[in-house]
Each structure stands twice: as structure tokens, then as C-alpha cells.
Symmetry: C2
Subunit: 182 residues, 2 copies
Amino acid sequence: MTDINFSKGHVASDSQEAASPAPRAGEFRWDIIELLFFAYRDFVGDADHELEAFGFGRAHHRVMHFVYRYPGLKVADLLDVLRITKQSLGRVLKQLLDEGYIVQKTGNNDRRQRLLYATPKGEALVAKLAGLQTDRITRALRDINPEGAAAISEFLRAMIDRDDPDKVLEAIFGIGSKKPRE
Amino acid sequence: MTDINFSKGHVASDSQEAASPAPRAGEFRWDIIELLFFAYRDFVGDADHELEAFGFGRAHHRVMHFVYRYPGLKVADLLDVLRITKQSLGRVLKQLLDEGYIVQKTGNNDRRQRLLYATPKGEALVAKLAGLQTDRITRALRDINPEGAAAISEFLRAMIDRDDPDKVLEAIFGIGSKKPRE
DNA sequence: CAAGATATGTCAACATGACTGACATAAATT
DNA sequence: AATTTATGTCAGTCATGTTGACATATCTTG
């Protein structure tokens, strides 16, 4: 049942598209495009499973992750990183605060700011999820030598937009190209 | 304004977590976890922008992509690949059919099946989006040698779950581990 | 052939996580 | 004192996912 019957018309080694657009002679990176899709799907799937047990979703994970990793992150910074609206963040953040995964502290210099910190309970959740994802990454890197691993890191960095980096990206990339786009 | 003021407590070279969980001595791949997050965010962001002009979302893109790439894909196959319910697919697919991006043909062997094909209009859309993503990938690979590129491909493949692969994954991986889970 | 299984489509209700717009408060800046 | 900034919140909407129930056509099987 359910035989592999689709014709694979455009797959990889196919000759040529008869399509009208013909953008640039057909040299698309279908391989990487699809590998990224499946790899990311399964990568986040690890965490998604666990999150159900807590009654949380991906949104909660992202918030917890960055709050844990960058203690004292401001709400505004979090909004930059996640690229969502404050209304959208508000709902998720409120749950995490109410349930004791995150605490807020008033900023020292600027008392309007609410600096965010993970509680031990929050740290435990992040560690659990990061453990699952680290397992997958470690498995995937097992048969890859250091040069290959460096190439992977370099590739992923180069895939990221560098214009107008948020605070977390500046930390990751080391405050390099602070290029104020006019 | 908006100074880089978070304390970076747990970042990379930090000594040790005082947290309670302590899963495996703290050797998490924070680097790859975060690079994947940002790389994928910007990777899909390319397409998201363009899609707005068409009044479509990511869901439409995913459907169009796989229908174009694997002509004659059955509805059931598409459900396997996207891992969504048929009701969810139905809404998106109906729009793409109504607006002439996809056509259905009755299966030859099994007349219950609806085999899906991209129209020229649909192919043009897929090509446009794949062009944007290919540009990003090509840019990212520019300074990476063939061995590095091979490592990247190997890594992404190894990140994907191989148990119970769907039709598309079988095509990508070459019908390898056809392990029928009982 | 009749019965059952399969492939697909559809209706209805609901959940999550995005969005916009408007407005409120407290604290910093001018 | 007036304005700007950082944050929070209310209200409504949209996109995309979910369950559950059911309909129809077609294939498979006893």
C-alpha cells in the first residue's frame, strides 16, 4: 500500500524545466532548502514533545531559552530577538511569571526596565529541552571532523542577516559589524 | 540608548551553572542551537516577505514547494510530509486550487487518488521563492570549500529522523531504511 | 456481488500564537 | 512642566494548527 508512485519530475538530476519564469537557468539549491526544512522540523520537534507535558508551546520555549541564556535581558531586547509584538510576548511572559519560571527585577539605572531572570524551575526546563536538542546535534556531528564542524558553524552564521543585529546577535557575533544602515 | 546591559551570565565560556537540574555537566551546544534558530528565522523570512504580496502564508509555500518538486504527489503523501491534518491542509490546498496554482488529476491506477501538479503560475511562485533562498544559501557557502560543503550536507541529513520516513524523505535519502514499524 | 477498507473532502468548534490599534502608568529626559 | 520611553493591558482579528463527525467515490476482499 501507498507505493512510491510520484514521478519525481523536477527532482535533482532532472533535465530542464519547461516553466515560463526561468529565473536563473534553474540552479536552485533544492538540496539545502529541503534539508533545512526537515532538519529544523525534527530539531524543534524534540522540544515540542516535552513542552506538551508542561502545557507550554514553542513561544514559551523561545522566551525561556533567551532569558536563561542572557540573564537580565530587558523586555525590549526580547522583543527584538523574537521579532514579535509586546502584546504577543505579554501573554506568554505572564504565564511564565505566574507559574514561577521567570522573575522580573527593576533595573538599577533605569527603574522603568524590567530585567528578566530564569528561576531554578525555569533553568530546569531550559536544560531539559537543551539536552534533547544537544543530543541530536552531538549525534549529527559524530562522524564529522573538526574542519567540517567549523564549516557548519561558519555556514549557519553566514545564513543570518547581519544588518541591524539585535542584542543577542551582537553577543553571538561579538559586536562586530555595528553597521547603522542609513 | 538601549545599551548592551544584560550580564551574559550563562553565555558560552561561563564556568558552571548553579542550577539544580545539572543534566550532564553542562555541555550543551548553545552555539548550534542558537545559530539554527537565527539561521532558520532569516531563511524563511526571505519567503515570508514575498508571500505577503500574494496573500499567502508559510503554509501555502510549503504545499507549493513539495507539489512542484514532486509532481503527482498524492494528498496523503503531502499530509505525511507536512505532518498536519487533512482539514488543515484542505483549507490551504483549496485556495491554491481555486487560484490556479495547483491542479489535481485523478490517479490512473487508483481513481480515488488526487495527484497534485503545479501549474506554470504555481511554478513561477515556487521559483521566485526558491531563488531568494538559493541566493542566501549561495552567499553563505561562498567562502566554504567542497569538503566543508559536504560536511554541512552530512550534518543536516544526520539531524533528520530516519525512522518512519515519508515519501519525500525516502526520495531524498534514496529509499534506505524502509523500516515498517508494526 | 456485498461488505468493508481506503482516499479524499467538508462542516463545525476550538486553541495557539501571531497581528493592529488604543490607551494607561511610571520613570527618565529635555 | 512637557515629552519621551519602557512596559503593561484591553479588545478584536487573522493564520494555521487541532478534534470529531460524517459523506462520497472507489478499491479490495470474503
